[in-house]
């Protein structure tokens, strides 16, 4: 690829079912400093090669669908500006640690299943307010879990996670952060049920606390901190369960 002052080279990983070798296509895209990588992909799709497949929707960093590897790092393509890379070539690949379905699209089934497995809904306790009244929750109580409620399910953290790459069973950063989001919510009483899931062997114990997940998270969720907290709580719960078998407290 040659350097061109108003254009920028993109090298994009391509895959169609049945393909056996790794394949890349290279495109020259007009360079526009306002453009994000997603704009470049859209340009290619609209004017150069309509067969390029990738996911996107909101193009404002909130729907979580446009995550890809850009020069080897997991990023939201709608938040990664061409100007961060120009004039060097940009390599775009599907998110690491996921099975590729097509071009830049990966299989999300397993991730969705993991989210579901941590029971990410409010589990009511004994003191539910009447139907015409809200729970009281002070700003300080809200602040306890707020950060963990900001996850957009983009799965960048799974692509960055060394445990996820070795142990596909690992429930993973975002799912654990989501479990903590409810565990720490003053309205919730489901912590014990969720810890059961996390304590299972594909749970939090596998994390070696590398913290890569928090580094790549575009929303400041800090899943690594959630994992540490969950570990601590699971250890306590485990110790407690040895003394007091469940249902017998």
């Amino acid at each position: 690829m040659t350097v061109d002052t108003d254009r920028i080279p993109l090298k994009i990983s391509r895959y169609t079912e049945g393909q056996t070798t790794d394949g890349y296509d290279e495109y020259m895209v007009p360079y526009n400093e306002d453009w994000v990588v997603l704009d470049a992909l859209n340009y290619i799709k609209d004017y150069v090669d309509g067969s390029l497949a990738y996911r996107w929707s909101c193009r404002m960093g909130v729907c979580g669908s446009c995550g890809m590897m850009i020069n080897g790092k997991p990023k939201l393509t709608c938040s990664a500006f061409l100007s961060e890379y120009y004039p060097d070539p940009i390599v775009v690949e599907p998110l690491a640690n996921f099975r590729v379905e097509r071009d830049l699209i990966v299989d999300m089934d397993d991730f969705i299943h993991k989210l579901d497995s941590v029971k990410p809904w409010l589990i009511e306790g004994d003191s539910v307010p009447p139907a015409n009244r809200e729970y009281k929750q002070t700003p300080a109580q809200l602040a306890k879990y707020k950060q963990y409620s900001m996850c957009i399910n983009c799965t960048l953290c799974y692509s960055a996670c060394p445990v996820a790459s070795n142990e596909p069973e690992f429930v993973g950063p975002a799912a654990i952060a989501l479990a903590q989001r409810y565990n720490l919510d003053s309205r919730d009483s489901g912590k014990e049920q969720r810890l059961d899931v996390l304590m299972a062997n594909e749970g939090v114990w596998d994390c070696t606390f590398v913290g890569e997940c928090s580094n790549v998270c575009p929303k400041g969720v800090d899943p690594a901190a959630a994992i540490q907290q969950a570990k601590l709580e699971s250890a306590l719960a485990y110790a407690k369960s040895l003394i007091m078998p469940k249902g017998n407290k």
Binding site: D49, G50, S57, C63, W121, A131, Q137, T138
Partner: protein, 586 residues
């Protein structure tokens, strides 16, 4: 061909669709429910809603006030029975969402906090900082996970409604992963596919907002109501169209032109109070006027040369600097993030460049207060539906509430319908699916075509912007109608580069373009027929509201030719049509 069967089928996994799904299970847990969505539910565009969600909850507020604000905001085109039901049901729906875990922002005593919003007399907009829709959608999605009777078809795209015996009984849908097209049959169907802002070039709407469900219903013979009413939000970032929420003004932000003047004071929106005045921002005044009036004011300022010129067109300034960094971080952090990332300014230190941007479609599938359409077995809710509580201009923060109120209404009523009806005429339903398979195969295999999707889409969106923008006239609209009719023909001749079946996103774009052309034609033809100015539909050739002729909903029906436009009366109960007054008094 094998069919899939469910009691109830919901098309769309946004706020409306998920609320409907839960409502079915609440009504009758034995009913099995399918939710078909072309994206994973949490990617739905409800996720992008920022500012908040209106419901009367505080002691200083009243149902009457919320009703009045909504009806006057609608320029009297809303159906008042529907508005009344909406306003009265809203609080319990929002509290329920609170019980499901939505992280609402709070007062120091732990009760939910409310903020002012445009066109509302009293602060009644609940919010979760400025990511309300994101939290609403994720709370709903996570809550649906506990209902095991609910089966999701994520990344399946609805292509055509299946009808037999005068009833809607399912949909032909394509699994995007494999490209296979399957009939999903059901005793009742609920359409929750959201809006279609993508028919315009400059919009806050996500790529998926292509009006699919509206087009599906239209093709099945249901009218699209009030399609000419398209909301321009006054504050989008130039270039990208990314929304800067009205909450920025609700918290005290001001709009200023290139002379440093708070120009809204020149447009019957009241007098500007100083930014440090204890009454600023004043409800229903200046920056808290309704969106239609604010967007129109921009156009006048542009004509007067009072706007800034930038690489992405003209703009004015939205200034929130006086709120200070810590307040901005607490109340509108996303505004800061978006302005920084996509507008290149930090609102703590600089004003934000903004201009009007297409945001919301007031019109949609003609439904009644029961969320039922005229096709038995088909219900609709959310932005794709038109009940109508929004009339000629929606008030900010009423839409998210509408998703819950009418999503739940649709779910309950569909559940009742499904218990009284079975699936009939399966062979007919399968043969309709086969027709659809043939149609899509033809599109996929058309080697002779020579039209590009992007070209046709660009022509369509420019035609709408030019012909059906903030100010309209007969000549411009006529031209847009002609262009859309031509594009219809040209779209038969598309050429696709992608011939594969798995995640053929070029094919889905082609299908979406076809849906959008339906939306575009109903917008332009309905607009042409409404010879008055009301709310968001402003005509330079008919500048006045005309209640004698047009206190009526427009109904656009599909034909082989141009749409047939009919009209029907608006429901007026307690509030006879009056002048809309902002900037003081009612």
């Amino acid at each position: 061909m094998r069919s899939i069967k469910h009691d109830i089928l919901i098309i769309g996994g946004g706020g409306a669709g998920l609320r409907a799904a839960i409502a079915v299970s609440q009504e009758n847990p034995d009913l099995d429910v399918a939710v078909v969505s072309k994206v994973y539910p949490m990617r739905s565009h409800t996720v992008a809603a920022e500012g908040g969600m209106a419901a009367v909850i505080k002691p200083n507020d009243s149902f009457e006030d919320h009703i009045y604000d909504t009806v006057s905001g609608s320029d009297w085109l809303a159906d008042q029975d529907a508005v009344e039901f909406f306003v009265r049901t809203a609080p319990s729906e929002l509290i329920q969402l609170e019980h499901w875990g939505c992280p609402w922002s709070r007062e120091s005593d732990g009760s939910v906090a409310v903020r002012p919003f445009g066109g509302m007399q009293i602060e009644r907009t609940w919010f979760a900082a400025d990511k309300t829709g994101f939290h609403v959608l994720h709370s709903l999605f996570q809550t649906t996970l506990k209902y095991r009777s609910l089966q999701r078809y994520d990344e399946w795209m609805a292509l055509r409604l299946l009808t037999h015996d005068g009833r809607c009984q399912g949909v032909a849908a394509m699994e995007l992963r494999t490209g296979r097209i399957v009939p999903i049959l059901a005793k009742a169907v609920i359409m929750c596919t959201g809006g279609g802002g993508r028919v315009f070039p400059f919009t806050t709407n996500a790529a998926i907002k292509t009006g699919d469900g509206m087009a599906l219903a239209y093709r099945a013979g249901v009218a699209l109501k009030d399609m000419e009413f398209v909301q321009y939000h006054p504050t989008g970032l130039p270039g990208t169209g990314i929304l800067i929420t009205e909450a920025a003004r609700g918290e005290g932000g001001i709009l200023v032109n290139n002379k440093g003047h708070r120009y809204l004071s020149d447009y019957d929106l009241g007098k500007p109070l100083p930014i440090d005045h204890h009454d600023h921002p004043k409800n229903r005044t200046m920056e808290l006027g309704p969106r239609d009036r604010l967007s129109q004011a921009f156009i006048h300022e542009q004509t007067k040369g009072n706007v800034f010129e930038g690489p992405h067109g003209t703009y004015v300034h939205l200034d929130v600097r006086h709120l200070g960094e810590s307040y901005i971080e607490k109340k509108i952090p996303f505004v800061r993030e978006l302005s920084n990332n996509y507008g290149g300014v930090d609102p703590v230190h600089e004003p934000i460049p903004v201009r009007p941007v297409v945001h919301y479609m007031m019109g949609g599938i003609d439904t009644d207060i029961e969320a039922a359409t005229t096709l038995p077995g088909l219900y609709a809710a959310g932005e794709c539906a038109c009940v109508s509580i929004n009339g000629a201009n929606r008030l900010g923060s009423n839409s998210l509430t509408e998703l819950l109120v009418f999503g739940a209404q649709a779910g309950r009523n569909a559940a009742i319908f499904a218990q009284q009806h079975g699936i009939s005429g399966e062979n007919d339903l399968l043969s309709q699916t086969q027709d659809e398979i043939n149609r899509i195969s033809e599109l996929l295999g058309n080697r002779a075509g020579d039209e590009k999707i992007a070209d046709l889409r660009n022509i369509m969106t420019s035609a709408l912007e030019e012909g059906a923008g903030i100010y309209r006239n007969a000549e411009g609209m006529q031209k847009a109608c002609t262009t859309i009719t031509e594009l219809r023909k040209r779209s038969k001749n598309l050429k696709l580069d992608d011939t594969s079946l798995s995640y053929n996103t070029e094919l889905t774009s082609a299908i979406e373009l076809d849906f959008m052309l339906d939306i575009a034609e109903t917008v332009t033809f309905s607009a042409l027929r409404r010879k008055e100015s009301r709310g968001s539909h402003q005509r330079t050739d008919f500048p006045e509201r005309d209640d004698d002729e047009f206190l009526k909903h427009s109904l656009a029906y599909n034909t082989d030719d141009a749409p047939r436009i009919e009209h029907k009366d608006v429901v007026i109960t307690n509030l006879p049509p009056a002048k809309r007054i902002y900037g003081g008094g009612k």
